[in-house]
Symmetry: C2
Subunit: 418 residues, 2 copies
Amino acid sequence: MIDRTACEIRDENDPLRAFREDFVLPEGTIYLDGNSLGARTAGAAARAHEVVTNEWGTGLIRSWNTAGWFDLPVTLGEKISGLVGGGSGSTVVTDSTSINLFKAAAAALDIQAEDAPGRTVVLTQQENFPSDIYLLQGLTRQLGDHYEVRLVDDEVAAGLPTALTDEVALVVLSHVNYRTGRLFDMAATTEAIHAGGAAVIWDLCHSAGALEVDLAGSGADMAIGCTYKFLNGGPGAPAFIWVSGALQNRRPQPLSGWWGHARPFDMAADYTPAEGIRRFLTGTQPVLSLSVAEVGLDIFARADMAAVRSKSLELSDLFMTLAEQRLPDHPIEIVTPREHEHRGSQVSITHPEAFAVMSALIERGIIGDYREPSVLRFGLTPLYVGFTDVWDTVEALRDILDNRSWDAPRHQVRGAVT
Amino acid sequence: MIDRTACEIRDENDPLRAFREDFVLPEGTIYLDGNSLGARTAGAAARAHEVVTNEWGTGLIRSWNTAGWFDLPVTLGEKISGLVGGGSGSTVVTDSTSINLFKAAAAALDIQAEDAPGRTVVLTQQENFPSDIYLLQGLTRQLGDHYEVRLVDDEVAAGLPTALTDEVALVVLSHVNYRTGRLFDMAATTEAIHAGGAAVIWDLCHSAGALEVDLAGSGADMAIGCTYKFLNGGPGAPAFIWVSGALQNRRPQPLSGWWGHARPFDMAADYTPAEGIRRFLTGTQPVLSLSVAEVGLDIFARADMAAVRSKSLELSDLFMTLAEQRLPDHPIEIVTPREHEHRGSQVSITHPEAFAVMSALIERGIIGDYREPSVLRFGLTPLYVGFTDVWDTVEALRDILDNRSWDAPRHQVRGAVT
């Protein structure tokens, strides 16, 4: 049997332990919601102060050049690209995940109209994060309902060939399901989609920074994702978009603003898209939020993603094992896949009173979140979560469940995005 | 003749003088580029620190509710609405000006397709800020080139009836021209556009916070604008969108993300637009940039916009008078209209060597900006620019021009947006 001491020893021997110093968490808090909003980075406050006082206050308008503000989307994009196997010159940080999906899907459908004309279905998961579905609905409605957004459940999506009829132009998949933590095999799934004649956009919101991603190696077409979950960019920090080199210059995207113009300072009256990934930019970006997001990305420059993934799986293995050993008599079900190759960086457990149970955990300083319906969701971020944290969480859960020490919901637990 | 002492006396008697304390400018700097990037607000650093350390660091995911993060677009929107005569519940702060124009124009064309079918022209100014034109081009391209973006020059736009044929579905106008400072009469122009059967979207980037705007009273349909110029929201702070009450619930806009959903936390698979202005939201917003932008907006709660406008005109009158009196022998032309009713809050002066001249001014600590072609642009922000600043600027300009003390361009002076 595992005990707390064994967990303490694992923490002591954890090669990623030093990264805990890169984050500031409130005393006494176990934070298992980094897959909704990553923890505060230790350098964030100083960076924000520098941007406000020096770059804005002293540099003023000159900082668009001298402080590199204008290039922040590309500067940060390069750093993310290194984490997701995107290759240089293929990623920008800008706008929101939802808006980036609109750009990507619009460009992808435009390209497919040339490469595979007559296909009219956009396929996505019923269980995808709803905003992804909503954006696809908004896009296809705008295109005159020429296209149909077809929802399939995760099982069908995983066994894609049955759903991949020759009507399908585009598939949009969340690499890791926000609710269950189910992970797709990116390379195999991309290959199946391409074999079926469709293009694919991957939503990396729950995988970027959590596990090794190899976009270019998987032959993916496009990807989007956020920076404020496992990448610790800060609340609502701008999102990213990646487009494969082969597709970047095929078509402009419809949100064709001046930041995506070939010569933005010429003030020409006609839009000429920039070559490369810059054409996926639109308008002026929130410098302060971008700059603080960079602090989170810079931490990853020192982190070995293989080690991050390895610890993530050890943490979730431990969580599942303890849940089975110590919560045997309760109506719980672990809905996160047991197989490593199908698991993201979280453990999701259903319980009929999940909302109240999570509220009770939060009252004890253990912050996970609740997801409809009936899911207790625990995000495991290897850079600042330890094995003892997992032990203490399961023990608190056991105590709450054993003693039915929950009452009416006191917290409305809303997630930032997914 | 005016002299510097007369300017000093005017500063002493300036009823807005106390607002200078709400801003922090570098010692020895005269800042006349607040129409590109407003000055640092005195409260910005403390607000950024609070958001990073307390709201993010301590509140963590809970701050989406407890710190009001989720409602920031509406909270800030209400504050802007009060400045532009929008009425309550009609404005949100979100995304970029370019993206908000896409949403507004898409919704407006959708509505016009019902109300005035068969109209296929989107009319805008040749002299509009280019990104507005680019976005309209992107939108109409996406709509299958059913629509044509037609550019007319400012003179034609001002005498709209000649351009307002029965082909015109939508007119998009910058309330104040970013280059020349020319101001449209919003009420009269809106009336003419409506009489011609078209809808209008106003771009308020160069008027919000600079002069009194009465969107609802003018009968306008929609408006967009940024928060980082005269509203001093900080570099790249999110933009705003206003939609008249009569149009808000007519159609959804195509960037239909979960923040615009009627019940965003239900995680339903179908998009149902929220009632009211919230449907113009899309995805998660950059909290840090939004929070610091609020500091700028809160300053206006204490400012009388009539007094702001009055001082703005006094400053630009003084600038023009001094330029005429003290720079008589130089090849300059004031391109900003002399008539108050046609003037925004800037003075633009052409000179054949404008780029080099502006570089020389900046070397002396007087920051204006250069705009293609040949324009020296001086933004006049009444909350922190004084009459003596104008005197000193024209004197520096005189010295530079008299002595031809400019040389090859040393600064690349790029503006943030317009």
